[in-house]
Subunit: 314 residues, 2 copies
């Protein structure tokens, strides 16, 4: 399932409104097929893995990060039917599909066909990997990651606006990889006017993964998709993962609207005493600030540190 999750990650940010699924087919301890949702959503991961496995799929075990779809479409047969037709013996599923056209029906049909089904294997990791799809299903909006690259004292620039560079090469490369995993990046008007950011993916081989550029502003700018308020992200078609990159007022607008699901904090071992990364959140007391963020991951990137926080559930 770890391999299937890794394959699903390849598709993150390219499959909206479909989930980014990964699938691995194993027979006699050999991997005979690997698949992940293709750009635009088709073929599905299972279809790709089954095509690769061919005859070897018979009697094999398929590991898939999401319950196979149970609905036929004009773009192809249901993966449930394909798995049955290929006579797979066992299907291991990380997460049940909340899509009402499937939602347990895929599992039921596999079992009716005599295929063993195991569920809830690494379901939390699968939910994290397919956060965009699940957030769109549950809340009708993209999953939002807020990125901040700061000094130890939380600044994103000197007092005069100078911000290149706070973090080092490795942290910036990591940030570009994160860009490639989002359908869209958003900045505010102040950042556009001050930095004219390219927001592209400057990583060899991933240049074509540059996301759509969204502007939060009261007025249009050529070449940008504009929205007038943070809540309007719900209307962005084809965007299930949104990366908010700045600046301080834009970040605060998303936090105030409680629209941030994940914090991506890059932190350089420097002190600036400059411009804070966040504008006023409008908190009247400290109590509501606590308990909202859980540390999920942290590591060093050169002399910088990255921390990933997730919204606390319930």
């Amino acid at each position: 399932m770890g391999a299937a999750l890794a394959l699903g990650e390849r598709a993150r940010g390219r499959t909206a409104p479909n989930p980014n699924v990964g699938c691995v087919i194993v027979r006699d301890n050999h991997v005979v097929g690997r698949g992940w949702t293709q750009p635009g959503g088709r073929p599905h991961a299972e279809a790709m893995a089954l095509a690769q496995a061919g005859e070897a799929a018979r009697g094999a075990t398929a590991y898939t990060t999401l319950e196979p779809c149970a609905h036929e479409s004009a773009r192809g047969p249901a993966c449930t039917d394909s798995l049955i037709a290929c006579r797979v013996a066992h299907v291991v599923i990380a997460l049940r599909d909340p899509d009402p056209r499937t939602d347990g029906r895929g599992i039921a049909r596999l079992r009716e066909a005599g295929i063993a089904v195991t569920t809830d294997i690494r379901s939390a990791d699968a939910a994290r990997s397919m956060a965009g799809f699940l957030t769109r299903r549950a809340h009708g909006r993209p999953a939002v990651t807020l990125k901040l690259a700061t000094s130890l004292d939380g600044c994103i620039a000197l007092a005069d606006g100078t911000s290149r560079w706070i973090t080092g090469l490795r942290a910036r490369a990591h940030a570009h990889l994160e860009r490639a995993r989002h359908e869209a990046i958003l900045v505010g008007r102040g950042t556009l006017d001050a930095d004219a950011p390219r927001l592209d993916v400057r990583l060899a081989g991933l240049e074509d993964r540059t996301p759509r550029r969204i502007l939060l502003s009261a007025s249009d700018a050529p070449g940008w998709t504009r929205i007038a308020s943070a809540r309007a992200i719900a209307d962005l078609d084809g965007v299930d993962h949104l990366l908010v990159e700045g600046g301080a007022h834009t970040a605060a607008a998303f936090l105030r609207a409680d629209l941030v699901d994940r914090l991506l904090l890059y932190r350089a071992p420097i002190l600036l005493g400059g411009r804070p990364g966040l504008a006023d959140l409008g908190l009247a007391t400290l109590d509501p600030a606590h308990g909202r963020w859980n540390l999920h991951d942290a590591r060093m990137l050169g002399s910088d540190r990255i921390e990933v926080y997730e919204r606390a559930r319930g």
Copy 2:
């Protein structure tokens, strides 16, 4: 030597202008004496450990964090002479004493008396432990630790000044233990007026370790020792370790004057968008901000994280 360093730590913040030394005497694989510099500087660690060892010191190995003193004083004999008189067989020393009255003469006299001497064992840790003494010797001022307790976005309070509490119980207890290891704590006028901080050590058994309270201000306040500029810390008698606790302008004043040796950063997993922990450092470019701080230690304290940075050497 690890045990000797731990004993020396007990004395940190109570021995100025003397160093906080630790000493362990071992004979036949048994600890027969333990000592650390007593409050006010006497007895010395070696004298205390030798008194405890008594006859057992003969033929033993003495581990001491600083070269034994070679100068007699009205307050007692030189530790070098005491070690010779007790017929210790081997002296293991972390760090040579920069005091011109000793500075290698202790080591030489021990060797002349036929005692084996090993030097430079964990000398970096010893230098860290006796930072106050060494900084006073080298730079004529106390070693300065700057403490900041912030949110993830570097704030020390909400916009209205509310700051209780940002960090949790464990982080605050740790901060109180740090207070006990400094001869004095300093705050600025704004912090005094806004918070009227007690700056005491609220830890059971350590209440008497509450440091002197210093105020950085243009005008006096009853009960406080006042200095008018950061550089005036050089004139604080009996203060070899100074903890700067805030606020943003005081912290910036010490950083601008390049007087901070150690950063003690407590960080709670919350976002505030409030008052930044540091006022303007007056940097014209980002270059001079880089390379100044090395991460020395980090750990979790409940859901908060503490990071200790040290001034990068040369």
